[in-house]
């Protein structure tokens, strides 16, 4: 019962991921794409957590923290690039 309910919810997350991908492709500006990427990876984080419950394996969930860290790094780097146009400063 549990896993079937969770599978339905997981499929909802897949559908929303597709919607974010539309925004990712459509743009129209760089911040828009980064925004879509952010949303997509938070989506993925939940997806991993749900999957680890469905597969009954705690290993998948440990990928969430690096994912969040990297997405923060991407945010920071893009905004740095937009503000300073140079990485060194």
């Amino acid at each position: 019962m549990l896993s079937s309910v969770l599978l339905i919810i997981t499929s909802i997350y897949v559908v929303t991921a597709l919607m974010y991908i539309i925004r990712l492709v459509k743009g129209p500006t760089i911040p828009d794409r980064v925004l879509a990427l952010d949303a997509l990876s938070f989506d993925l984080a939940v997806f991993l957590a749900l999957l680890s419950i469905i597969l009954e394996n705690p290993i998948l969930v440990s990928g969430v923290i690096p994912l969040v860290l990297w997405i923060h790094a991407i945010d920071i780097f893009v905004s740095k690039y937009l503000e300073a146009r140079e990485m060194g400063e």
Partner: protein, 270 residues
């Protein structure tokens, strides 16, 4: 120009078509079947196996066992490749000058404070996945890459200046990196030296005892499997990857003023 593009595209599409046809029609690559190669199954079976102590490495994480024990030499060379890349970048940009007072401009206070809170947590997390590489997914490279996130965040959020202020200089990092590589070599050679002293057979990169050699690294620490040298390799690899990636990040994000000095030096060539 356009003609060439069309030609290239056409030939590549032919390639795609042919390979796709092979995969689709013949179905010869085994994907998503119940069978995997026996070699893979052997790894799964022997990785943590007290009942076959000649083939085991006492690591719960099979990937870690393959990377540092069964195919440890590959990973050693891979680390050397990283070293070569750092030396090559250093060679390219040689003669740069790290200037400390350039009035840096970081991002806003909010981002700075949020990053400051997270940095110690990232360090703890990275060290956790590196030191538990033999128990849970992760390992030296993953830990080092996670640690390198810190330096990339500092460069972006604070500035390159702040890294200098904290005492990071690319030269020092290169030195640490080299020393760690030598430490890795020492760990790999240790069984060989012990074998020489005791006058028995032993191998480079040996971890647990083998059929013809009884020398063995420690397999347990307290109550957890240590997997012998895998633990040491993971710690060294953590430092190597962290210092390597940080050096590369620092060198590649040098400011124009600092690079100028490097390119002003006209060397005498041939």
């Amino acid at each position: 120009m356009i003609k060439r593009d069309v030609l290239v595209a056409f030939s590549l599409s032919l390639l795609v078509l042919s390979i796709s046809l092979i995969i689709w029609l013949e179905g010869y690559i085994r994907i998503a079947t119940p069978i995997i190669s026996s070699l893979g199954e052997s790894y799964l079976y022997y990785s943590y196996n007290p009942w076959y102590s000649n083939y085991t490495s006492f690591s719960l994480n099979v990937v870690s066992a393959i990377i540092w024990d069964y195919r440890g030499f590959d990973t050693f060379l891979e680390t050397t490749v990283l070293m070569a890349s750092i030396i090559a970048i250093y060679t390219l940009l040689r003669g740069f000058e790290e200037k400390v007072f350039l009035q840096p401009k970081g991002l806003s206070t909010i981002t700075k404070t949020a990053t400051k809170i997270v940095i110690p947590l990232i360090i703890a997390y990275a060290l956790a996945i590196a030191t538990h590489g033999q128990l849970t997914p992760g390992g030296g490279f993953q830990g080092g890459a996670t640690l390198a996130v810190i330096s990339s965040l500092i460069i972006a959020v604070y500035s390159l200046e702040f890294l200098y202020y904290m005492g990071y200089r690319s030269k020092r990092l290169v030195v640490i990196r080299g020393l760690c590589l030598i430490g890795l070599i020492i760990v790999a050679i240790t069984p060989l030296l012990i074998g020489f002293i005791l006058n028995t057979k032993s191998y480079i990169f040996q971890n647990m005892s083998k059929e013809d050699s009884f020398i063995s690294m420690p397999s347990f620490l307290f109550d957890a499997p240590l997997a012998g040298s895998i633990f040491f390799y993971n710690v060294f690899e953590l430092l190597i990857v962290f210092t390597g990636l940080t050096t590369a990040l620092m060198l590649l994000s040098l400011r124009d003023v600092e690079l100028k000095k490097a390119f002003e030096v006209r060397e005498v060539y041939e």
